[in-house]
C-alpha cells in the first residue's frame, strides 16, 4: 500500500481513537456522544435485528434512482447545451447561482406536486446532483482540443460518432468528477429530505431516534450513513485515480 494511503488511514483511525478516549476519560459527556465502539456495536445490533431493513432499502433505492437519473440527464443536457451556445449563455447565470439556492425550500412544493411518496426525496437528490454533472460535462467538452475534432473530420466521422468516440471519451475524466459529486449530492439530498419530513428511510429514522432520546439507535444509524458514504466516495476516488494515471502527462 502506498505511504499516503497508509497515513490517511492512520489519521482517520487516530481521530476515531481520540474521540473514544475523550469519551472514556469523561471529557466529552456520554449523553452527548457515545463512544465509536458503542456506535459500531449499536449498528451491528440494528443490522442483525433487521427491523430497519425496509428503511435502509428505501433510502438506498431512492439514492440509486437519483444517481442514475442525474447522470443520464446531466450528460445529455450538458452535451446538448455545449452545442447550443445561445441557450447556454442565457442559462449561465442560473448555473452560477444554482448551488446558492436553498434546495430544501422547494421540498414542500415537491410534496404538494408529487405527494408523500418517494418522489419528492428523489427529486431533491436529483436536483442537487444533476447540476454537478451538467457543469462538469460542459467543462470537459469545452476542453476537447480542436486538433482532435479535426482528426475526427479527417476520419469522416458523423457528428454523433464524433460525440461518442471523441468528445465524450476526451471529457470522461471531467464527467467522472461530475458523477462523483452526483453520488454525494444524491445521498445528501435524499437523506436530508427524509430527515425534514418523511415517514420512512434512514434520515427519518435518525430524526425519530433523536426525538425519542434513543442515542444508541441514532448513533448507530449516523455511523451507518457515514461509513457508507465515505466508503463509496473513497472507492470512487481510488477508481478515478486509476483512470487518471494513464491520462496524466
Amino acid at each position: 500500500m502506498k505511504r499516503v494511503t497508509l497515513l490517511r488511514i492512520l489519521v482517520i483511525l487516530g481521530a476515531i481513537g481520540l474521540l473514544e478516549g475523550l469519551i472514556h476519560a469523561g471529557i466529552v459527556p456520554r449523553f452527548t456522544i457515545i463512544p465509536p465502539s458503542e456506535m459500531a456495536s449499536a449498528l451491528a445490533a440494528i443490522l442483525a435485528s433487521g427491523k430497519l431493513k425496509v428503511d435502509i432499502a428505501v433510502t438506498l433505492t431512492n439514492v440509486a434512482v437519483a444517481i442514475v437519473a442525474s447522470m443520464a440527464a446531466g450528460v445529455t443536457i450538458g452535451t446538448v447545451l455545449q452545442r447550443a451556445a445561445a441557450l447556454r449563455r442565457i442559462l449561465d447565470p442560473l448555473f452560477a447561482t444554482y448551488y446558492a439556492i436553498p434546495m430544501y425550500a422547494f421540498y414542500p412544493l415537491l410534496i404538494v406536486v408529487f405527494g408523500l411518496g418517494d418522489v419528492p426525496q428523489i427529486c431533491i437528490g436529483f436536483l442537487l446532483a444533476v447540476m454537478a454533472v451538467i457543469i462538469n460535462t460542459l467543462n470537459g467538452l469545452d476542453r476537447v482540443p480542436r486538433v482532435l475534432l479535426k482528426a475526427a473530420r479527417m476520419h469522416r466521422m458523423s457528428a454523433l460518432r464524433t460525440a461518442l468516440r471523441i468528445r465524450l471519451p476526451y471529457a470522461a475524466p471531467y464527467i467522472f468528477t461530475g458523477f462523483k459529486l452526483a453520488v454525494a449530492y444524491s445521498f445528501i439530498g435524499v437523506i436530508g429530505a427524509e430527515f425534514i419530513t418523511s415517514s420512512r428511510g434512514i434520515g427519518y429514522e435518525i430524526s425519530f431516534a433523536y426525538n425519542n432520546f434513543d442515542n444508541r439507535l441514532m448513533y448507530g444509524l449516523i455511523l451507518f450513513v457515514l461509513a457508507l458514504v465515505l466508503t463509496v466516495n473513497m472507492s470512487l476516488h481510488a477508481w478515478e485515480k486509476r483512470l487518471m494515471m494513464r491520462r496524466q502527462r
Binding site: 447561482t97 436553498p102 430544501y104 414542500p108 412544493l109 430527515f195 434520515g203 449516523i222
Partner: protein, 243 residues
C-alpha cells in the same frame, strides 16, 4: 449583453413558473404575482424583521467562523505536499456526507438555539473553503516561489507579492462556495432546532401548510442568495481574469 441575458433568464423563469401554476392549480401553488404580493406583505409585517435579523446574525457568525477555520485548515495543509495529499481525499469525503444526519449531534452538544445554528452553518462552509484554499496553495507554480527566492524577497514580501496574488482567485472561489453552503446550513439549522429565524418560519409554514408563506419565504431566500452570489461571482471573475 450580460444584463440582457440575465433579464431573459428571469423572464423565462417567470413564464415557466406561471405555466406551472396553471398546470398545478391554486390549492398547493401560487403564481408569481401572488407570491410577490405575499412577500411584500411579509416584508411590511413588523414581526418579520426580527426573524430576518436573527437569521442574518446567525449566518454572519457562521460564515465568519467558516472562513476563519476553513482558511486556516486549507492554508496549513496546503503548505505541505504530504499533508495535502493525505488530507484532501478526507476533506472531499467529509464534503460528501449528508450533514443533516449530524444535526442531532450538534443539538446534543450545543442545545437548541443560536450556537447550534451557527455551528451547523459553519460546518457546512468550513469544508469547501478549506478544500479550495488547500488546492490554491498546493497548486501555486513552484517557479513563482523560486523566482521570489532569486529576487531575494523576504518571506513577508514573498507572501504578499507572490503567494497571496497567486492563490487568491481560487481562495475566493472557495469562499463563494462556502458562502452558499453556510447559508443553506444555517437555514437548515433553523428549520429544526430554533424558535426564531427564516428557517424556523419556513418549517412552521410547512407544518401549517401555509402555501403563501412557503412561497414568499422561498422567493425571498432565493433572491437573497442569488444576489449575494452574483456579487461574489463578479469579484471571482475579476480575480480569475488577471491570471
Amino acid at each position: 449583453m450580460k444584463a440582457r441575458d440575465t433579464l431573459i433568464l428571469v423572464a423565462v423563469v417567470l413564464v415557466a413558473w406561471q405555466l406551472l401554476y396553471w398546470a398545478v392549480g391554486s390549492i398547493a401553488f401560487r403564481s408569481p404575482a401572488e407570491t410577490v404580493r405575499s412577500a411584500a406583505v411579509l416584508l411590511a409585517d413588523p414581526r418579520f424583521m426580527p426573524h430576518v435579523r436573527e437569521s442574518m446574525l446567525a449566518f454572519a457568525e457562521a460564515f465568519a467562523i467558516a472562513v476563519l477555520i476553513g482558511l486556516s485548515i486549507g492554508v496549513t495543509l496546503g503548505a505541505s505536499r504530504l499533508a495535502s495529499e493525505v488530507a484532501e481525499p478526507i476533506l472531499v469525503a467529509l464534503y460528501s456526507i449528508p450533514k443533516v444526519t449530524l444535526y442531532p449531534v450538534i443539538l446534543l452538544v450545543f442545545g437548541i438555539g443560536m450556537p447550534a445554528k451557527v455551528a451547523f452553518g459553519a460546518i457546512h462552509g468550513i469544508v469547501p473553503i478549506s478544500i479550495f484554499a488547500l488546492n490554491a496553495i498546493r497548486n501555486i507554480n513552484p517557479v513563482y516561489l523560486r523566482t521570489g527566492q532569486v529576487l531575494r524577497l523576504s518571506p513577508w514580501a514573498a507572501a504578499r507579492k507572490i503567494l497571496i496574488p497567486a492563490a487568491l482567485p481560487e481562495i475566493v472561489t472557495g469562499i463563494r462556495a462556502g458562502f452558499c453552503l453556510t447559508l443553506i446550513g444555517t437555514l437548515l439549522g433553523e428549520m429544526f432546532g430554533a424558535q426564531r429565524g427564516l428557517g424556523h418560519l419556513l418549517m412552521q409554514a410547512m407544518t401549517r401548510h401555509n402555501m403563501d408563506s412557503i412561497m414568499a419565504l422561498t422567493l425571498l431566500l432565493v433572491v437573497f442568495a442569488a444576489t449575494v452570489n452574483g456579487l461574489l461571482l463578479a469579484l471571482d471573475h475579476r480575480l480569475h481574469r488577471r491570471v
